[in-house]
Point group: C2
Chain length 267, copies 2
């Protein structure tokens, strides 16, 4: 039997246009493509993907959506006899821990593993706001449903070291997600409970909403103002900057609209 | 006169295959594409780019290499009357501060600015090593020629907080660059001078060499072992991990070869 290969392929931010040529060629080479539909919300529809592969002269492979349970518990059953299996996930495939675990499991069974990186919100979000990537400290996720002091702790540490903080906001589905407005309220509540002087309603923050989608919105405003930010749906992220340096300040003022103007547009 | 637009386009890791469909369509729409050849070393050759644009049904625009001096000092002279100008740079376009400054300058002159993100070593490097992106602290660059205690300071802070550290290694050209072997020697020298117990020859590190290129090499080994790492040329990066968690340890052992085996291959 010939060698079996698992390709972990990053789909990028929003839709098929965010795939790299390398990712497309990898998908074309696979016998089976499983589209991971749960680690983020995105619009990579199978039909569009088939069309793009055909436009590039490739015969599309079998493409199937794949649930969390299938990916985490029944993967080697689901793939059947397929020899070259690609798992396509939003952003960069290695941002979700699930995929590292899957890679380990496949390697243990003697499969080869190939990673095809994708554009991630971790760099595209800060870049879109004109903030220096070298000035970011640790990233944290603001979770749905669970109350956790962890994001507040991360923010405190980063602010103490004069570093920017990127918050990823959990999205379980198109309807269940943390919005930028939810996120600032979450942080304000933690401030009321913890009282360590980390979050003030007057701090300036940046909302990164649906980056890469047609209705992308990147806006600045105070924590207080952002609590009224328009909500176009997931995915969203929040950046809590450290003290801004000259070019960062200029970029923000010239190239990132104020949330109050953007709200008017959304209403 | 119609609106002028500056597109800052990320080219991804290594060559034209790392362009996204969105980046390719943006380039096709430009009147002039300037290829930034100095913020990193990569192999995006104009001829290959033209071929790919034609394959996708686009008429290639004018494509020209662009020096640092042209980009930083004579940009608005160099572009002449072109209305839609794309600057194509390796990785993500916003990782280099130059591009944020250029965006500000263009906005001041009334141009629109659009950012098309690219795959960056900042996420692809850690992902290729199976390390959790949430566990990374601040990133630092190890410079050529200059001796700076800054990378050592960043490492100390990250290690104190049990966070991984990614070091980008400066590359001025195909011949002048910092290799993984240089980088570990640089850190060991700083340890001898500073003596704060941050770097030990026995610490395990990961070398990320020419990620995305045909001769890509990702290897693990101690600081001491890595000082003898094979050198295939730039770009290179070094990861100094914090204490590894279960799945990170397994990934590394199963999917990242030891530097001593890879050295044999290179010799």
């Amino acid at each position: 039997m010939s060698e079996r290969v698992l390709y972990l392929v990053g789909a990028g931010l929003a839709d098929v246009r965010d795939l790299t040529v390398r990712a497309l060629r990898t998908l074309a080479r696979a016998d089976l493509v499983l589209v991971d539909t749960y680690t983020s919300v995105y619009e990579l529809r199978e039909r569009e993907l088939r069309r793009l592969l055909r436009a590039l002269g490739h015969d599309p492979p079998e493409i199937r959506p794949c649930s969390r349970e299938e990916l985490e518990e029944r993967f080697f059953e689901v793939v059947g006899e397929a020899e070259r299996v690609a798992v396509l996930s939003p952003g960069d495939p290695m941002v979700a821990t699930t995929h590292a675990t899957l890679a380990v499991e496949a390697a243990r069974r003697g499969w080869s593993v190939r990673i095809v990186p994708g554009v991630s919100i971790l760099t595209a979000g800060p870049g879109r706001a004109g903030l220096e990537l070298y000035r970011f400290g640790r990233t944290a996720t603001i979770p749905l449903r669970v109350r956790s002091v962890y994001p507040y702790d991360v923010l405190e540490r980063n602010r103490d070291a004069d570093l920017h903080t990127l918050f990823l906001l959990e999205a379980a589905s198109e309807r269940e997600y943390v919005s930028v407005a939810d996120a600032v309220r979450y942080l304000l509540e933690l401030e009321r409970e913890e009282g360590r002087g980390v979050v003030s309603p007057d701090d300036e923050v940046i909302g990164v909403l649906r980056l890469g989608f047609e209705d992308e919105l990147v806006v600045r405003g105070t924590v207080h103002e952002m609590s009224g930010c328009w909500d176009p749906g997931p995915p969203q992220a929040l950046i809590y900057p450290a003290r801004l340096r000259g070019p960062e300040r200029e970029f923000l003022e010239l190239l990132v609209p104020h949330v109050r103007d953007a709200r008017r547009r959304g209403e």
